[in-house]
């Protein structure tokens, strides 16, 4: 073996810059590779998609037919039109919470040692999980909308907003997947990561405008629901589907997406790099 190896003489500063450039150079292809791997998991283990497929149908039927009468009574809208954007966000948050579970599993099984000994971009391990769950939830948006249309949901906000809606859901899910990734690298245990879905996603989605107008809540809860990012993204989606003001919701949603991707995303990557 005559591999010629030239010993590099980088200063720590140049090494750090080099590291960053390297990260960017390979980020796309390494993330694509890891995303492929994680999507193959869904393909080989389709039962893991059961809750993603059945969940929206179940919630749609439950809320529309069980609570719909009570919630929609005396209001000027069709409850299913109100409900569907909420369901899109809620179910897909559940779906992307799998990001952290997958990462924790990889950490537990010692895969990560293999990845960390490879010359791949560091953030691709997390990024691959995030992208895979986001793609699954993106597909699930169309599935949910198809079911909803069958059960009588209609768009009233025009074609362009209706086409933008799935993209907004996907963008928010992508951002929220990084929160789950942070949970995954922090707890490093699939069971704990799994129960975090319950403690993070359930309160966040219920204490918002996902299922009911927040005016019906007691004042202190309204205060929380009003600052809850879920309320903003759900309202944005609702108005995209049904018409209504978009701008203020869009700005707040964009802010949260940026915060989660840049802030939480870097924090998760940083924690991943420090694992030993």
């Amino acid at each position: 073996m005559t591999t010629q190896i030239v010993q590099p003489q980088d200063s720590p500063f140049r090494e750090a810059i080099g590291s960053l450039l390297y990260e960017f150079r390979w980020l796309a292809s390494d993330t694509a590779m890891m995303t492929w791997r994680n999507l193959m998991h869904y393909r080989r283990n389709p039962e893991t998609l059961a809750s993603t497929i059945a969940g929206p149908v179940m919630f749609l039927l439950l809320f529309n037919y069980v609570f719909g009468g009570a919630i929609g009574a005396g209001r000027d809208f069709n409850y299913i039109d109100y409900l569907v954007p909420g369901i899109l966000i809620q179910n897909n948050l559940f779906t992307v919470m799998n990001t952290g579970i997958g990462i924790a599993q990889d950490l537990q099984k010692g895969f990560v040692d293999r990845y960390r000994s490879l010359p791949m971009a560091r953030s691709a391990v997390l990024g691959g999980r995030v992208c895979a769950t986001t793609l699954v939830s993106f597909a699930s948006v169309y599935w949910t909308l198809a079911i909803a249309l069958i059960f009588g949901m209609r768009f009233h906000g025009g074609l362009i907003p209706a086409l933008i809606l799935p993209l907004v859901v996907a963008a928010f899910c992508f951002a929220f997947a990084w929160v789950s990734a942070l949970v995954g690298v922090s707890v490093r245990n699939a069971e704990t990561a799994s129960s975090s879905t319950f403690f993070v996603a359930i309160p966040l989605t219920f204490l918002s405008s996902t299922f009911v107008p927040i005016e019906t809540m007691p004042g202190w809860l309204q205060a929380f629901a009003e600052v809850n990012p879920i309320t903003h993204v759900v309202n944005l989606c609702r108005n995209l589907a049904q018409g209504g003001p978009l701008e203020s919701y869009a700005w707040v949603t964009a802010f949260w997406i940026a915060l989660m991707v840049i802030g939480i995303g870097s924090l998760a990557t940083w924690r991943y790099r420090r694992i030993s």
Binding site: M1, S29, R37, P119, S276
Partner: protein, 325 residues
């Protein structure tokens, strides 16, 4: 640069627990270094430092001329790691696992495909190549793990307890694979708690215990360090065992004779096995003790470990387990 690995005074501690203490190590290019020690001795910690997974608390190390901390990113392109956990993806096929590893080494797609075929052939995984790894046996998983770590033809490969938990046949198969690697010029550092494995595969052996290097040398040198051979005599009748023992103990280096009454076996430690054996045979004949079997046994590395540390490898492993608990 003759050494593939240079380790200078590496230490690693976790709070108060010292995993490695002032370890020095040199591994020549193209050779096989066996890192031998009981469970919890610090072998894996050292491998993790050398493969850039862990930063040392102090000291420095270079692998192939790259500093493991400062040039970690460069180094990763030139090393392969096959760990004890066999980090292969259960849900992917064997071929997909190799393919993924190759792509993550940033090899071109075509080249990876070609290399995957080669490796699957070499590791006898062709038939199982397109089945998902879930159904692989333990030995197959290890072979696949090793194949994946070799996809980029790294000049340096780390094998962390490659055969732990394998059945004897799979172990022999894996040994063959490792020998082939070595014959192709790859430098290998392998850790093992099997003394026989280090003896079989390694050119040089480093014995570590409780985070410290306690001995270094070739298998023969280490055996020499234990300083002794063993003469084992099995008598035909159980009642003769005691008499045989008293004869033998006259020749023993330490005047001690081990008696295994169940098997009618007595054994002593001596400096020069062959010539003392002649005398032992004469004396036994004079005493009229019928002998069923006799042998001069070379010391095993187990004896070496005992000679250096005063305890068997097994005892050491139990101790360090208690340490970490």
């Amino acid at each position: 640069m003759d050494n593939a690995i240079e380790v200078h005074q590496i230490s690693k501690s976790y709070g108060k627990v010292v995993a490695l203490e002032n370890v020095d190590l040199q591994v020549r290019r193209g050779s096989v270094m066996g890192l031998l020690g009981p469970n919890g001795a610090g072998k894996t910690t050292l491998v993790r430092i050398l493969t850039t997974l862990l930063r040392p608390s102090s000291g420095s190390a270079t692998v192939l001329g790259y500093d493991v901390v400062r040039h970690a990113r460069h180094l990763r392109s030139y090393i392969g790691l096959a760990g004890q956990s066999a980090a292969v993806d259960d849900l992917l096929t064997g071929r997909e696992n190799i393919h993924m590893a190759g792509r993550l080494y940033h090899m071109p797609k075509r080249q990876v495909q070609k290399r995957a075929d080669e490796l699957l052939n070499q590791f006898d995984l062709v038939d199982a190549a397109d089945r998902s790894v879930k159904g692989y046996s333990g030995g197959m998983r290890r072979r696949l793990d090793l194949a994946a770590s070799l996809v980029a033809n790294p000049p340096m490969i780390f094998l962390d307890e490659p055969t732990t938990g394998l059945d004897p046949r799979s172990r022999l198969e894996l040994w063959d694979v490792i020998r082939t690697l070595v014959s192709e010029g790859t430098t290998v550092l392998l850790t093992t708690q099997y003394l026989e494995e280090a003896d079989q595969l390694a050119d040089q052996i480093t014995v570590i215990d409780l985070g410290k290097v306690i001995a270094q040398g070739t298998a023969d040198e280490l055996k020499h360090q234990a300083g002794s051979e063993f003469i084992e005599i099995t008598v035909r009748d159980t009642e003769d065992t005691k008499r045989a023992a008293s004869v033998l103990s006259n020749y023993a280096e330490n005047n001690e004779c081990d008696i295994d009454e169940e098997n009618n076996k007595t054994s002593i430690m001596v400096k020069d096995g062959a010539s003392i054996m002649v005398q032992v045979v004469r004396s036994l004949d004079t005493e009229d003790i019928p002998v069923a079997n006799m042998a001069v046994r070379q010391p095993t590395l187990d004896d070496v470990f005992l000679a250096i540390t005063g305890r068997t490898a097994e005892e050491a492993a139990t101790e360090s387990e208690q340490d970490t608990n």
